[in-house]
Symmetry: C2
Subunit: 315 residues, 2 copies
């Protein structure tokens, strides 16, 4: 039996909530999950069962799932007791989040932080209607949070300035890599970058420059290999030869600018959505969602181990 | 001694030409490299020496560098004899390429294909002034070509239709993954995607949303990990839960569109270039270009081996 160190509360038991639950359990914490939907709660159990072997391979201290540390309930008041941290993972809709956080604040001590996993909403907008907005912050993970290290911590206008550092320390204690945008922006940092790339994906599919299959192959056999280890700035530094980034920008900056002018706009019309979905379906063949998730997780686990090994041998 | 199977001609001995040379040598080919600059030719030797141990770890048949298969010369006529394939890697400038290809055509049999490694130019523009434009095609690799599998094959308006398949087969015979855009476009496919992402990098640095360091960390600890294995379409398919890509687009498509509206324009002014270079310099600390290249190549080799292992165990 693992003695739980802290109790963490998760509001919302979708894919992100379930993955957070698996991560915190693997660190020996007590996890209290609330959702109004009983099926979502049951899916958390299935999710933890599915991913535990992966987690055990990188966190070998916990071979068995400590079910006694997992509370799944439709009782909001219960999960808001005896907790040190609330992580909210409701659908990315301001009305839903306002209502949920209002209900939670009614039963939660006022000094307990509430972090939101929101992808698309602004911290200031979510906290605007809170009774104690200073305790609110964004802690945005990437799917699946139990494997992807990145968490973006974003304070809203009314967030207690000290909470940013506290949130950073909290996520880092679970092995996460935290970045802090200098100011609030739609999509924080990483999802702005993903959205920028994806807009051109949609543009190329919609206008017939490339197929869905070739676009996905281009990334995984090309730039995606480098981005697993090198950020875009470092990639171009290495692309500049001995002159580095400055030389790259002087020589190839103009050709970046030429490309920028040629990039397209995109809109997700029904026709374009059809092209995207059909294009992907042709590529996937018989692969089920479970197959794909299993393959993805095996790949991420292998990559995380490789990065750890390279970091260890680099010093 | 390795018996060379084919002779391949490389025009231009910069970083890309040197890396192509290492790749073709590792497959036992004879490689004939032309450059007007003697120093560039000497750098090819150094490059091959540096990367050979990496190549030998994935191509274990050739532990020793077959120097007898490498010809380095400032004599264009010589490299254009006894060759099956010409790969041009001159600076990405139309005037330079026109002149070089004109000179090469003067001494090259007319049935020998000429492929260009061009990143930014259009196949039709390069071939426009050629005597035998039907033999011209783009075969665009990614830095470093001896490790990154992706090659984009793009025909120009006057390219012999059969050359596209022939080029595909040529690159595939050296372990490359070939994609063929449906039509010519500035930046082909992968560099349009990179440019789209990079424009937002520059925008965020220029407008103070994020630091160069945090942007690079965001990619390598977040989306970059997934892109090593999953293209952007497949990432969102898995982000859609059991409903897959269609569900993702219905639920989260609107938040993509919101982000697209908020993405910025960018220009590489001297001030912005300064911010980019200074931001990266702070991040890199003492790391030399050689250290960074060695680390990059070790990471790519590890990742390529991991992908091979995962592909092997997936079936």
């Amino acid at each position: 039996m693992i003695l739980a160190k802290r109790s963490i509360t998760l509001l919302g038991a979708g894919t992100i909530g379930a993955s957070w639950a698996a991560l915190f359990l693997s660190y020996g914490e007590k996890v209290q999950v609330y959702d109004s939907d009983q099926n979502a709660l049951l899916n958390v159990k299935k999710y933890v069962e599915r991913v535990w072997r992966d987690l055990a391979s990188i966190m070998p201290d916990h071979p068995l799932i400590p079910w006694e540390n997992l509370l799944l309930t439709q009782n909001l008041k219960r999960v808001c007791q005896d907790t040190v941290w609330v992580q909210e993972n409701a659908p990315d809709n301001l009305v839903i989040k306002h209502r949920l956080l209002s209900d939670a604040e009614g039963v939660l001590e006022k000094h307990i932080p509430i972090a939101s996993s929101t992808t698309a909403l602004m911290a200031s907008d979510i906290q605007a209607e809170m009774t104690y907005p200073e305790r609110f912050i964004v802690g945005h993970p990437f799917n699946p949070p139990h494997l992807i290290p990145l968490v973006e911590v974003v304070a809203g206008k009314k967030t207690d300035p000290e909470l940013t550092e506290r949130a950073k320390a909290f996520y880092e204690s679970y092995g996460k890599e935290v970045i802090i945008p200098k100011r609030e922006a739609t999509g924080h940092i990483a999802n702005r970058l993903q959205a920028a790339l994806y807009r051109e994906v949609v543009h190329m599919v919609a206008t017939g420059i490339a197929s869905v299959e070739d676009i996905d192959r281009a990334i995984v056999h090309g730039p995606g290999l480098r981005w697993a280890f090198l950020g875009p700035n470092l990639v171009y530094h290495l692309g500049g030869g001995d002159g580095g980034y400055a030389h790259y920008l002087d020589c190839l900056g103009p050709s970046q600018e030429t490309r920028w002018k040629d990039l397209g706009e995109a809109a997700l019309s029904d026709e374009t959505k059809g092209k995207l979905v059909n294009g992907l379906t042709e590529t996937l063949g018989e692969a089920s969602m479970t197959d794909l998730r299993t393959k993805r997780d095996a790949a991420l686990i292998g990559l995380l181990k490789l990065k750890k090994h390279l970091d260890g041998s680099a010093t």
